[in-house]
């Protein structure tokens, strides 16, 4: 199994979710993160003093998939999340040693 983790632009979440469902992912987990990268942050102004906010709001999407689905998952995310502009984010893929469904105790791909 593979664990696919993507950092994307917040407003792309709905599209990514739909793309993942379309290819058969059974679930996903998302969280709010802040990212620093090529895309520059903005300047906030505070009582006349400028302050560089270096981190931008991003959404992290995590989805565990069987090995055979991994490639399609990455493709689906990439297509759905891309705007072509700097700051679109990254996709990272890891090996997943084991997965367990808490409710039933099922393991492996069945647990996903």
């Amino acid at each position: 199994m593979k664990y696919v983790m993507a950092v994307i632009k917040p407003f792309k979440l709905d599209e990514v979710r739909e793309a993942l469902i379309a290819i058969g992912a059974s679930g996903l987990t998302v969280s709010e993160v802040r990212g620093f990268g090529r895309q520059k942050g903005h300047t906030e102004i505070y009582r006349g003093a400028e302050y560089e906010v270096s981190f931008l709001p991003k959404i992290k999407v995590e989805v565990a998939v069987p090995d055979e689905l991994a490639e399609r998952t990455v493709e689906a995310i990439q297509k759905a999340a891309a705007t072509g502009q700097i700051g679109d984010g990254k996709i990272f893929v890891y090996e997943l040693s084991e997965a367990i469904r808490i409710r039933t105790g099922e393991t492996g791909s069945e647990a996903l």
């Binding site: 102004i45 505070y46 009582r47 006349g48 003093a49 400028e50 906010v53």
Partner: protein, 436 residues
């Protein structure tokens, strides 16, 4: 003209016509104005409005400007000061400020509000019950030290704050209030201060600057992001200050009359002008008009019109407002940066600077037909000097006295929290609570 006659003149328009009514009621002694239910209604309301300025107004204004880990500690300061000063004012503060005494300090005849009954009045507001006058003035005594904490935010020890507030209220607020309003030497010298530009704002602002210097800068100042965690709170606070300020300024007429109405009108106009002044200045300089700037501009305008309301008309109000907005923007951004002190929430930059702008311009724009005294524009050039005299005396006395109080506290119980407490946030470290 001394402070009392000065202030008395505010109620004269009311007396003008009320007097006639009373004349028709021969049962009354002509020389003893009686309670007026309309004036009383307005002063009861004004008292509620000015209390609302401190809690929740100032609590939110300041609470929104600190980091999230310090918001509860900040609102707690307004809350605790409200309670502490209420008790001090009841016991000695009112007496020292407003009962018969010398030109430097009132007497102790009003200790524990002794002598106050359902029917007594105070000569400064002869048509309302003394109890209402006491409460109205109490709300001024409360907000003044509450303003100071803006300079101490995010690093002051809570116990030291209580000591400071108690001592400062007795040793600084009551005397200065007496000098200007209670029959003391500044009022006698002809210094005009309708609702407290000197007594409240310059007084608090300079004390704040001293406190900022004594406390030192916050950890991370100019390096970490110390920006406001919730400007929405700050806007709500500014709005409640604005609304409550009608009680502050129009209430300072002591009656529901034409002078109160004019004070309300110029308050509204100057505040609007100052908001615009700050906003456009910032827009020009920083390319974006910040919401914090608009809220700060409004407060700067409210501060500056405070001494002038009751003396100036709409035209003067617009100019005072614009001046306050632009100058306070400059003070809170350029001056603070240049001088290098960490006046966390700009108590000095807004209240002292705005108060000085207002006090001096009162001397320029005062209209005889409104407040009984004309200013520079009406040929009374000396008034600006008198105003400057009031400003300087207040800056000096409050600055030095605040320094002494803080110096003693620093040497004894300490005034600043530990470094780890400051990093963890005052909410948890001082009060054991946090906002989710």
């Amino acid at each position: 003209m001394n402070g009392i006659t000065n202030r008395m003149s505010r109620v004269l328009p009311a007396l003008g016509w009320a007097g006639v009514l009373l004349a028709a009621a021969p049962a009354f002694a002509a020389d003893e104005p009686k309670l007026d239910s309309g004036d009383t209604a307005w002063m009861l309301t004004s008292t509620a409005l000015v209390l609302m300025m401190t809690i929740p107004g100032l609590a939110l204004f300041y609470g929104g400007m600190v980091r999230k880990k310090n918001v509860l500690a900040t609102v707690m300061q307004s809350l605790a000061i409200t309670a502490l000063v209420t008790l001090i004012w009841t016991v000695v503060g009112y007496s020292l400020a407003f009962t018969e005494g010398g030109s430097l300090l009132g007497g102790m005849g009003g200790f524990m509000l002794a002598g106050m009954t359902l029917s007594t009045t105070h000569s400064l507001a002869p048509t309302i019950p003394e109890s209402v006058f006491v409460c109205f003035q109490m709300t001024f005594a409360i907000i003044t030290p509450a303003l100071i904490v803006g300079s101490m935010a995010e690093r002051m020890k809570f116990s030291a704050l209580l000591w400071f507030t108690g001592l400062w209220s007795i040793l600084v607020y009551s005397p200065v209030a007496h000098w200007v309003w209670g029959g003391g030497f500044l009022g006698s010298a002809g210094v005009l201060d309708f609702a407290g530009g000197t007594v409240v704002h310059i007084n608090a602002g300079i004390a704040g600057l001293v406190a900022a210097l004594m406390l030192g800068k916050r950890i991370g100042y100019r390096k970490e992001n110390l920006s406001p965690h919730n400007v929405t709170y700050t806007v709500v606070g500014a709005a409640l200050l604005w609304v409550g300020w009608f009680g502050f300024n129009a209430g300072s007429a002591g009656a529901a009359n034409g002078r109160a109405g004019m004070a309300m009108a110029v308050t509204q106009i100057a505040t609007a002008a100052a908001l615009m002044g700050w906003m456009f200045a910032e827009w020009l300089v920083n390319k974006k008009p910040s919401v914090l700037g608009a809220a700060s501009g409004a407060v700067a305008g409210l501060v500056a019109i405070t001494p002038a309301s009751g003396y100036v008309g709409p035209g003067g109000a617009i100019i005072i407002g614009i001046a306050a907005g632009v100058v306070c923007f400059w003070a809170a951004s350029w001056l603070k940066r240049a001088a290098g002190y960490d006046d966390s929430l700009d108590a000095f930059g807004v209240h002292a600077v705005g108060g000085i702008v207002g006090a001096l311009l009162t001397g320029v724009f005062a209209v005889e037909a409104i407040g009984g005294t004309g200013g520079l524009l009406e040929g009374n050039a000396g008034q600006v000097m008198k105003q400057a005299y009031g400003v300087i005396v207040t800056l000096l006395y409050s600055g030095v006295a605040s320094w002494i109080i803080l110096f003693v506290l620093k040497a004894t119980i300490g005034i600043r929290v530990e470094e780890t407490q400051e990093r963890e946030g005052l909410d948890i470290s001082l009060h054991g609570e946090s906002v989710v």
